[in-house]
Amino acid sequence: MTIGLNHCLLLAAMLFAIGLYGVLSKRNIIAILMGVELMLNAVNINFVAFNRFTPVSDLTGQLMTVFAITVGVAEVAIGVALAYRIYNDRQTINVDELDNMKG
């Protein structure tokens, strides 16, 4: 059996769903950020697979991946910094306790 476009897309869709599940079900900020990272990496697989298996002339898909990785890292870096500050403020990084603002 050869690995084709459909296998890659299926893998990406599964990764995306797992990431989304992680974001929705986890209560720890770091775990949520890991879920976000999974979702972004699923997108990268999609781009590279489309670039490899469909008849396109340029490398736009792989270019998008490079930018997506960079942006994802920047987002997670800020997320970790914010988690650190929240831990300093409240001695916990459980998102259920972030309920100062309501209404």
Binding site: V56, G61, M64, L98, N100
Partner: protein
């Protein structure tokens, strides 16, 4: 590579680097106001210079467009993008003007504030000009990542970091959803460029349709359209007030700018089927935003819901999908900037002197800061669309455009909801004028007073004499549709 086409972006980037370097070079105990002063002055001069960039009517009449491109159609500079860039720069200049004092007293890191504001502005400008999904994605992220940091900038407040992490999680999930959509569209059409995507039949394949839908949902998150709005009230309340103002004016207008380009240029055929859905969503936004704003006890939170409703009004113009509708959206976006500057200038003053921004804190503001109370009242009336303020002219353009396209019910919902919104806007006025609060006079800095008064003058001027602004928006939407 036509670098002359992107001179605005280069200029803003240089200003941002200047802010970083000056922050490092200045002594630690020196005030950072001077950096702000330089940025305000240079950006104001640049906005004036940008009027010469418009392609004039005479060239358009001869069939030319005067549109310039950078890097092979990736980046387009037309009248439409020039107008939106002016709008973003005006919003930033006013925000910096009324927040000079606020920053000195409330924030710990002042130099970074200016630098990040510049990168956010750069992101918005890139968004307005983006002509493929790669550029749009980079612009969007440059803007939102800067805002994640700025929202969390009030280190003394627990609410600020809470708002920032909520914004970050919702924002990055919506980014992932949008990117997934972009990857599917890329897979279906083999390109991420708007002009190549235009009328590509492959968009109507399953992958293309799913991708386009996910891209739209990503934009709805960014525009905080109900039902994708849940992050907005918390973020607006927790952020430092000048940043709340920037989120409401700049971030939203940038989202609208790129959304219109995606809808009309990249997906015009799919967009045709989307218009009824957009009409329903904008009605939900107007109804939900206005109803939920009534029961808020915090003015910033109330303004968050009101900004959801304003996004609904602007989407009314997008639904009409013609020359008049686009013009109305741009007109409304511009005067919404002036209305917001007035409201948030007063609110940041209150937050700075009384610690928070609920209805108790603004009680009796008419006695302690009469100018600011008057400015706030007029600005809120403009948001509600009461004549002779500019909000009335803006809503008139929006609703006429959509009625001409046959959506009478949408204009009807808009009218009713505007009337309802007067109730909660006037509650703010009631708290300021009739209720008894802290009578101690508040000292207002000259810069904040200037920002507030200029914005109110602009609100009234565009209300009684909208001709000049309407001419520019005409020019901008006309080249876009050619």
């Amino acid at each position: 590579m036509n670098f002359a086409a992107i001179n605005t972006e280069i200029f803003i980037l240089v200003l941002g680097l200047f802010a970083i370097i000056m922050d490092l070079a200045l002594p630690k105990d020196e005030s950072r106001k001077a950096i702000g002063g330089v940025l305000i002055f240079s950006l104001t001069a640049w906005v004036a210079y940008m009027f010469t960039m418009y392609t004039p009517q005479s060239i358009i009449a001869d069939g030319g467009t005067g549109t310039r491109y950078f890097n092979d159609m990736m980046y387009v500079v037309d009248n439409y993008s020039i107008f939106f860039k002016q709008l973003f720069i005006v919003a930033t200049v006013f925000t910096m003007l009324f927040s000079l004092e606020y920053m000195q007293n409330v924030l710990r890191y002042k130099g970074e504030f200016y630098a990040l504001l510049m990168t956010a502005l750069l992101g918005m400008c890139v968004l307005a000009s983006a002509n493929d999904f790669l550029t749009a994605f980079i612009g969007l992220e440059l803007m939102t990542i800067s805002f994640y940091i700025l929202v969390g900038a009030r280190i003394s407040s627990k609410n600020s970091s809470e708002a920032a992490i909520k914004y970050l999680i919702v924002g990055s999930v919506s980014t992932a959803v949008m990117l997934y959509g972009i990857s599917l569209v890329y897979g279906a059409t083999g390109t991420v460029q708007f002009y190549d995507m235009l009328r590509n039949p492959a968009l109507f394949s399953a992958a293309g349709l799913a991708g386009a839908t996910m891209v739209m949902i990503g934009f709805f998150f960014k525009l905080s359209v109900i039902p994708f709005h849940m992050w907005a009230p918390d973020v607006y309340q927790g952020a430092p007030t000048p940043i709340t103002a920037m989120l409401a004016m700049g971030s939203k207008a940038a989202g609208i700018a790129v959304f219109m380009r995606v809808l009309y240029v990249a997906f015009p055929l799919i967009g045709f089927y989307w218009l009824p859905i957009l009409a329903v969503l904008s009605a939900i936004c107007m109804i939900g935003g206005n109803i939920m704003a009534i029961r808020q006890t915090d003015v910033k939170r109330m303004l968050a819901y009101s900004s959801i409703a304003q996004a609904g009004y602007m989407m009314v113009g997008i639904v009409s999908a013609d020359f008049a509708g686009m013009k109305a959206v741009m007109f409304y976006g511009m005067l919404y900037v002036f209305a917001n500057v007035g409201a948030f200038a007063a609110l940041s003053l209150v937050e700075q002197h009384r610690g928070n921004s609920d209805y108790k804190a603004i009680a009796g503001l008419a006695k302690s800061a009469p100018v600011m109370a008057a400015v706030m009242t007029i600005s809120l009336l403009s948001m509600a669309g009461i004549p002779p303020t500019a909000g009335f002219a803006g809503k008139l353009y929006l609703f006429t455009a959509v009625v001409n396209q046959g959506y009478l019910w949408l204009a009807f919902v808009g009218f009713i909801m505007s009337m309802i919104s007067v109730y909660y806007y006037l509650q703010v006025a009631k708290a300021m004028y009739l209720e008894v609060g802290d009578d101690e006079p508040i000292v207002i800095s000259g810069a904040a007073r200037a920002a507030a008064v200029i914005s109110v003058l602009a609100t009234i001027l565009f209300g009684v004499w909208p001709e000049k602004l309407a001419e520019i928006t005409n020019l901008a939407s006309f080249t876009f549709l050619q």
